[in-house]
Symmetry: C2
Subunit: 185 residues, 2 copies
């Protein structure tokens, strides 16, 4: 799913500016399964306007730069529908600097391991609170509410694992010396 299609998905919930689309990826209803920064969103919106997948209306504001509000068109909906149909979606793509770091916990200091785990525990607790709040707005079950539930389930599992294994991670930390590469081989 490329950035264009992802933006169209956000616009299905209502007209929005580039800035608002970005927020959807960072803290909104798409935040636990989509990514995208300004550097990809703005060019995508410009190109889609040219292609007729969205329309752009400039809302003049007194002294701020004009807010450009984008709205999905019928052609945009067709594009979105085509992208979602037929093909079985591929594996989720996950990049985790935390897990990469914890993989090598043995070579790091217990203090550092404790710090990064505690930070992540706090993050998940806050995120889960926000998501629970967000869930109260649904009175009927929908794809949207079920996908939110999925995110909550996965984040909760991550949080639980970190809480349950915090001590174990700290215990393995510092147990290995920085490797003597030539000796090891």
């Amino acid at each position: 799913m490329d950035i264009k299609t992802t933006c169209l998905g956000v616009l299905m919930l209502g007209a929005a500016s580039g800035y608002e689309i970005r927020k959807s990826f960072e803290e909104g209803p798409f935040s636990h399964f989509a990514e995208g920064g300004f550097g990809s969103i703005y060019p995508a919106l410009t190109k889609m306007t040219q292609e007729g997948l969205v329309t752009c209306t400039a809302h003049q504001q007194e002294k701020r730069p004009a807010k450009k509000v984008y709205q999905i068109t019928d052609a945009g909906w067709t594009h979105l529908e085509t992208a979602m149909r037929d093909k079985i979606p591929g594996e989720d793509k996950i990049k985790s600097d935390l897990l990469f770091m914890l993989f090598f916990a043995d070579w790091q200091s217990p203090e550092r391991i404790a710090r990064v785990i505690d930070a992540r525990i706090a993050f998940y607790q806050q995120k889960l609170d926000e998501m629970a709040d967000c869930g109260t707005q649904f009175d009927t079950i929908s794809g949207r509410s079920l996908v939110l539930g999925y995110g909550i389930a996965v984040f909760q599992a991550s949080l639980d694992y970190l809480v349950a294994n915090r001590e174990a991670f700290i215990e393995v930390a510092g147990q290995a010396q920085p490797p003597l590469l030539h000796a090891a081989e």
Copy 2:
């Protein structure tokens, strides 16, 4: 964590070829938290050889192209250590075409929803089997074994949620018509 650093991490487990590094990302011990294709791995290895972060030994084979085996150097280890130290790691980056699609389940056919969910359930079951096997090789607890456990916990939560909500997803499917955009606004 850029592709260079990620490759160095793989090489910490032992010397490997570009092809083997790729396999680590696709099915090996890094597969649930790292990504990278040939198009990024080969250039990264070439550049790191020039920079002295890895050494390259060509293992001549009779009629195949020479297998280039890369080994991390002391400078490489220093680079890896520096990248992992100090900074609190940022949020995990997750891109899920499945969740994007399920978000709009209401507009899709129940048959399609059933098909994609069943495919993902089968995928997680197989992956979890493999990971459980992989776990038996650890006789002591380490960063590596704990990170594997993390992956298992998260994948299990995903699987459980899909199994528990398969019927709910299918029920919401087809309940909405393709939106009449102009009428809606």
